[in-house]
């Protein structure tokens, strides 16, 4: 019965995905399109959960449904909310798209079945990682072990990429300032409810950060959730109060600090006569050295992601167009 249930859920969710995408393309109201893409992210995260990819589902929901929706809406505030519809049907375009799709499907038909244990991608280095995690790092979440320890260089690169994204937005848009006439109207119910809720979100963000070794979670998700708390504050109480709570000037510094924490962890290993980002050098016992290294590195990632997400939100919402 469980296989039938999983099959049913998979089929239903994939159908929903198709329907949502069709509706999002057909509508000309961009608010509606943004909301539909929000629930597209929800359904995608559900599918990831069904495929047992828990960390990916976590990140997809936090980033796709939460942060991207808010960002698109901030951008919609500056552009128009309705699409410029051009009535132009291109047969050549349709032909090229169908041809490419057919070529892709023909290529995919050769792949091994999804989840097949003998597929080359599952036999290359994944069993080695799974076994080595048990021996050398001893944390239950293999994804965090691979992310932070075995592939630490790649994660360092990702953190620097996130930092560069924040720097690019800062160069293009600047921080802006809060415009006083766009303050939200007073809504007592919302104010009373949201204040403890923000505390709950922030505590949950910290929980996800430190629990990433044992369950789903880690630095990326925690940074986004933590920033969502402050974004919620800004939405309900107004830009100017939010900029007093977290001043815009400290955010680039925090982002840089996150990257520096990551780099310094690697540098300490280098100075202790081992390779860069080899956490065994951080403590006398290699396993606890790995634990300490993963903790520091995830903290750096979380700080960098939090600052960048909040910085991008401030930049978008601080652009004041001429009324």
């Amino acid at each position: 019965m469980i296989e039938n249930l999983e099959l049913l859920i998979d089929v239903c969710l994939l159908t929903f995905l198709l329907l949502i995408v069709f509706a999002a393309i057909k509508t000309t109201n961009l608010f509606v399109a943004t909301m539909l893409f929000g629930i597209f992210s929800f359904v995608t995260a559900l599918l990831f959960l069904d495929l047992d990819a828990v960390d990916v589902a976590f990140t997809e929901a936090a980033v796709g449904a939460g942060f991207t929706t808010v960002l698109m809406l901030s951008a919609l505030r500056l552009t128009g909310a309705f699409e410029n519809v051009k009535h132009r049907h291109s047969v050549l375009g349709l032909f090229i798209v169908v041809l490419t799709g057919a070529a892709l499907i023909y290529g995919v038909a050769d792949f091994p079945n999804m989840g097949d244990a003998n597929a080359p991608v599952h036999l290359h280095i994944a069993p080695e990682y799974i076994q080595l995690t048990q021996e050398k790092i001893d944390i239950p979440n293999v994804v965090t072990a691979v992310l932070a320890s075995f592939r630490g260089y790649d994660t360092f690169g990702e953190t620097v990429v996130i930092f560069s994204a924040g720097a690019a937005v800062l160069l293009l848009l600047g921080m802006g300032h809060a415009e006083p006439k766009h303050e939200p109207e007073q809504n007592l119910v919302l104010w009373v409810v949201v204040k403890p809720f923000i505390a709950l979100i922030l505590i949950f963000g910290l929980y996800v950060q430190f629990h990433g070794d044992f369950g789903a979670g880690g630095g990326f998700q925690a940074g986004v959730i933590f920033a969502s708390g402050f974004i919620l504050y800004s939405l309900v109480f107004g830009e100017s109060y939010a900029r007093q709570v977290v001043p815009a000037s400290i955010l680039p510094r925090f982002a840089a600090l996150g990257v520096i924490i990551y780099g310094l962890t690697g540098l300490v290993s280098l100075l202790s006569d081992k390779t860069f980002l080899d956490y065994n050098a951080l403590s006398s016992n290699p396993v606890s050295g790995q634990h300490l290294g993963i903790l520091l590195v995830e903290a750096g990632v979380g700080l960098a992601v939090f600052s960048t997400v909040l910085l991008i939100f401030y930049s978008f919402s601080g652009v004041n167009h001429n009324e």
Partner: protein, 90 residues
């Protein structure tokens, strides 16, 4: 019985989607999208328990929060946009 709850939730998701596509004004669509998000949280909890998904409670917790933030964001930005925007809702 838990299979019946999952099937009921899937049907509910489909019906809510229909309202999200149809809704004559945007508030209907905001309502339907928020309802979709809440039903997704319930589907994660019930489905996660029945199918043995790993660590589903944390994800359900986070979905509930993200749904709240997303819906509030849509309402706030829509009310901020509306005075300068079109007068018809759709």
């Amino acid at each position: 019985m838990i299979a019946a709850a999952i099937v009921a939730l899937l049907i509910t998701l489909a019906l809510t989607l229909i309202r999200a596509f149809l809704g004559p004004n945007i508030y209907d669509q905001i309502l339907a999208v928020n309802s979709f998000g809440t039903k997704t949280v319930l589907l994660i909890v019930v489905g996660g328990h029945a199918l043995g998904w790993f660590s589903y409670v944390d994800i359900a917790l986070m979905y509930a929060m993200v749904n709240f933030v997303g819906t509030l964001a849509v309402m706030r930005f829509f009310e901020q946009y509306k005075p300068q925007g079109e007068n018809n809702d759709y």
